[in-house]
């Protein structure tokens, strides 16, 4: 929150903050690692504590014999309740900076930790794992990291706290980082960042530390403000569980629900489950004061809308709309990893209720294959799960469910179990591909030699080995921009420069793929999307082989680019936006395409008759109208270091 005075600035503020995105994160740490202090520091230094609250905190700090504000008291509510024996799963806190809105799921660390942390992590975009610099990685650290990875949190931030107690020494931080990476790899956690902090002194929380000049990375708040989470939702597989029917009159029948994943547009084909009947989307609606016909042209993951179809189908609550070529499995038998959350242990003879998306059925647990020893991160024999235990089991439901694996779809791969006697929520589950080994989840036996823990698809040479050998971190430079914006020209010059600098690099452009690998594809929206998907897959293979790739494609939609980012991996994907204006591109018109598009000879031409969605936060933006080719290349070289 910042100071605002005049009317003008408040309107600007409202406009800006209306465009803000949201980040949900959870925290995990052992007791006394400084979690409360860290949260207090974060809220205090980002000016998110009201004055009256600050006064009362100050008074309580003084009462406790402190001369300055005791930051841990900010979240004190939890502790006091804990002492009174009140169970708290998760306390939610809300704060914001001009860049982002945050929802923090704060979980107190005590015995019920697995259940609490899983609850907080289930919706988190980031989990902050706290490590005490003096202690390094402890059993709890592994446990928390495992739960975060089990819950599919897309990325972890390791905050190495109490750096003041180790003289802000770089080697302490580096060693912890190294130790952590060694086991994170086994858990299959891909995106991990590390920040050395002192929650007590405020180093690298909101203010960059003066005591750690050796650290050049982001502060905690910078990380939270900037980390990219828009591609986390699965935007590929359209899943629309129908919550209820909106049927005010004979001529309106709409299906109300929230997209669990994917994107859908007016006119597209859909398939209704379980009836397997096909239809087309007639309208997508959401009541709006600004848009008088209340109609949308598309809806995407996590949006609540009403969909109407061209045909009368037998669709009710619990039905799911999907795309004809992309449906989940419709099955009664499945496997899942389950976290038990009730004091009453699992009862093999009970027919639990299962709630999966908006569907409900009864299930029997036919087998508990094994339990997980969460401290040793190894398997132990199956049996009735007890509170806070995790196990892999087979289930059988009385009615077919529409199942995606949790790994493929965090929105539709989860469920809860409900006790049929007292209706308590007793477990949370994540659907597993039956064939898939949960090596990534498990890190299997930490005792086994490393080579046995490799994923089955990889050889003996890891990507990091190649990178070390070639002295080069392979990345994909994804050029996007209008036709004529200079993508190919700059891409070629950049490729040449990298090559001259002895960097393995390869340029992928439309033609060299369309004449071979993609020659079965046309230019429909669907084929274009598929074209880009294949490009991204090829780029990923090149990257894995240690070769950087430059891709030059118009890739007009955010969705296209997000798909590519997802395939290639956030950390390797560099979005290069050729921001040359439409006016200039049209003036250049090297192949007279714009002219033809204007005359209607080319349909769906980006910029003229089809939209171009400019990237909001590209890694580089280049205006070829303002810069020479050399200058553009120089700009790219700076970020390729």
């Amino acid at each position: 929150m910042q100071e605002q005075n005049s009317d003008h600035s408040i309107i600007k503020f409202l406009e800006d903050s209306a465009k803000c995105s949201m980040l949900r994160f959870s925290t995990a740490g052992s007791v006394d690692d400084g979690k409360s202090t860290l949260i207090g520091r974060l809220l205090h230094d980002s000016k998110n504590i009201y004055e009256d609250q600050l006064d009362s905190l100050m008074k309580r700090s003084v009462k406790r014999g402190k001369e300055s504000l005791e930051l841990a008291l900010v979240t004190d509510g939890l502790k006091a309740e804990q002492e009174q024996g009140i169970t708290i799963d998760v306390a939610y806190r809300y704060f914001s900076t001009p860049k982002r809105k945050f929802i923090l799921a704060d979980t107190p660390g005590h015995e019920q930790y697995t259940r609490n942390m899983a609850t907080g992590a289930s919706t988190a975009d980031v989990t902050i794992i706290l490590i005490d610099a003096r202690k390094g990685i402890v059993t709890q650290t592994r446990r928390h990291s495992f739960i975060a990875s089990l819950m599919g949190v897309p990325r972890l931030l390791v905050a190495v706290n109490k750096m003041d107690m180790v003289d802000y020494a770089e080697d302490v931080f580096v060693q912890i980082k190294k130790d952590y990476m060694a086991f994170a790899e086994k858990l299959g956690i891909r995106d991990v960042r590390f920040i050395p902090v002192s929650a007590l002194e405020g180093d690298n929380i909101v203010t960059p530390s003066k005591k750690m000049p050796w650290y050049h990375g982001e502060t905690l708040i910078e990380y939270l403000e900037n980390v990219y989470n828009q591609a986390d939702a699965n935007l590929v597989d359209f899943r629309f569980p129908v919550q209820c029917i909106i049927n005010p009159s004979a001529n309106f029948r709409g299906y109300a629900g929230m997209l669990s994943s994917g994107v859908i547009r007016v006119g597209e084909d859909v398939l209704a489950l379980p009836s397997m009947k096909k239809s087309k989307v007639k309208t997508i609606e959401l009541h709006s004061v600004l848009n008088k016909d209340h109609q949308l042209s598309e809806a995407r993951a996590n949006q609540s809308v009403v969909i109407t179809l061209e045909d009368q189908l037998d669709v009710g609550r619990g039905s799911m709309l999907v795309r004809p070529g992309n449906a989940p499995k419709v099955e009664t038998n499945f496997e899942a990893m389950v976290i038990w959350m009730s004091e009453q242990p699992l009862d093999i003879n009970k027919k639990y209720f299962i709630r999966h998306t908006v569907n409900e059925a009864r299930v029997l647990i036919t087998e508990v294959k094994y339990k997980i020893d969460i401290n040793a991160l190894s398997r132990k024999p199956g049996g009735a799960l007890e509170l806070n235990e995790i196990g892999r089991m087979s289930l059988q439901s009385t009615a077919p469910l529409f199942l995606d694996s949790y790994q493929a779809n965090r929105g539709t791969g989860n469920f809860i179990l409900i006790d049929p006697e007292n209706f308590a929520t007793v477990a949370a589950g994540m659907i597993m591909d039956r064939s898939s080994q949960d090596l990534e989840l498990l890190g299997a036996d930490s005792e086994k030699p490393r080579s046995q823990n490799l994923h089955h698809e990889s050889g003996l040479i890891e990507r990091s080995d190649r990178e070390q050998k070639f002295g080069h971190v392979a990345r994909t430079y994804w050029f996007t921009g209008l036709s004529g914006s200079g993508k190919s020209t700059i891409a070629k010059a950049f490729e040449k420069k990298l090559f001259e600098n002895n960097r393995p690099v390869y340029l992928l452009d439309g033609d060299n793929l369309r004449t071979g690998l993609n020659k079965d594809l046309g230019f429909s929206a669907k084929d274009r999307q598929e074209n880009l998907r294949r490009v991204a897959e090829v780029a990923k293979l090149f990257n894995e082989a240690g070769v950087s790739v430059i891709c030059a494609f118009i890739s007009p939609t955010v969705e296209d680019r997000e798909q590519a980012r997802k395939i290639i991996g956030d950390s390797c994907f560099i979005e290069v936006y050729l921001s040359t204006s439409l006016e200039i591109c049209e003036k250049r018109d090297p192949h007279l395409l714009y002219q033809k598009a204007r005359q209607g000879e080319i349909k769906n031409f980006t910029g003229i008759s089809a939209p171009y969605e400019a990237p909001k936060n590209p890694d580089v933006a280049i205006d070829t109208n303002a810069l020479s080719i050399q200058e553009c290349v120089a700009q790219l070289l700076r970020i390729s270091k």
Binding site: M1, Q4, I10, A18, M22, P248, V289, I416
Partner: protein, 297 residues
């Protein structure tokens, strides 16, 4: 990209649709305040172009401001919602008031008891309310679906874990669920949304010259219900209300904010939390927790 307000809106709509589908007799508690206005607006959106498929219930203490009654009747009628009003008539007839009984006891009679009786009378199995987690410390851990036993009471041990967006609304006969669809909204989000969606609110939120008694830090509105202590004199002060409750227990704040934008600008600069202006919370530390256990929101 989906902006954060769209995300909050979508989530709240999703929750309301779950309530409509999972329960037999849901109700939306309508308190006439800004949060209720947002709640009602979201309900309209969730079922558009259909009608809101549940009634609204206002728990009336008889101590609400006249502007609130006028707004309540007009607004609910204009959107075609079904409004039920429930009062603890016996307590009202017995002249229950906060001066003689104290705020806590008075609330217990006119709000908590009335609410429980009202829910029972109509046999509601789910009651949606506009409470937010950021309002008060004890609410931070509240579930979206909050379980109540047969006596309408909140028992921490029987609260259900809530993961992802899976809400368990199963209850046995007599038990019920309180649902908070705007749990994740902050005060600022509510105002911002009112601004964007042009949602009507009670005029008491806007600054006007009002007759008040200045008592310490507090501005006590003067009307038929409010008591003026000996030696106190009322005066006209330009002020507004940040939260709306019963007139004897709701303080005003000095303000010049006459529009939603002004209010937001004011919030950015005054930087005190909204409940600081509600006399009701000054009773005793942790008082909310106790009220909640007894069945108050």
């Amino acid at each position: 990209m989906i902006t954060y307000l769209q995300q909050l809106e979508s989530e709240s709509i999703y929750i309301m649709r779950e309530v409509a589908a999972q329960f037999e007799r849901p109700v939306m508690l309508y308190s006439v305040g800004k949060d209720s206005s947002v709640l009602l607006h979201l309900a309209k959106k969730a079922f558009y172009p259909g009608k809101i498929p549940f009634p609204l219930m206002h728990i009336d203490t008889g101590f609400k401001f006249p502007e609130m009654y006028a707004f309540r009747d007009e607004y609910t009628k204009s959107i075609g919602a079904e409004l039920l009003v429930y009062r603890n008539e016996k307590a009202i007839a017995n002249n229950t008031n906060p001066y003689d009984l104290g705020t806590q006891q008075c609330c217990g009679q006119l709000k908590t008891k009335a609410l429980l009786d009202g829910l029972k009378k109509y046999n509601f199995d789910a009651a949606m309310g506009g409470a937010r987690r950021d309002e008060e410390r004890s609410r931070a851990k509240e579930r979206v679906f909050s379980f109540r036993d047969r006596f309408g009471q909140w028992e921490p041990r029987s609260q259900r874990p809530e993961l992802w967006n899976l809400y368990n609304g199963k209850v046995a006969q007599g038990e019920s669920i309180r649902v908070f669809p705007i749990s994740n909204w902050t005060e600022l989000d509510v105002w911002h949304y009112i601004h964007l969606e042009q949602i009507p609110i009670v005029p008491l939120y806007f600054a006007k010259k009002r007759e008040v008694v200045v008592r310490g830090e507090q501005l006590i509105p003067v009307n038929q219900a409010a008591k003026v202590f000996p030696g106190e004199k009322s005066e006209e002060v330009l002020c507004r209300f940040r939260t709306l409750g019963c007139s004897p227990c709701t303080g005003a704040v000095r303000s010049e904010a006459t529009s939603v934008e002004d209010i937001i600008a004011e919030m950015m600069t005054t930087r005190t939390s909204e409940r600081a202006t509600r006399i009701i919370d000054h009773d005793r530390d942790g008082s909310m927790e106790m009220k909640k256990r007894e069945g108050y929101f």
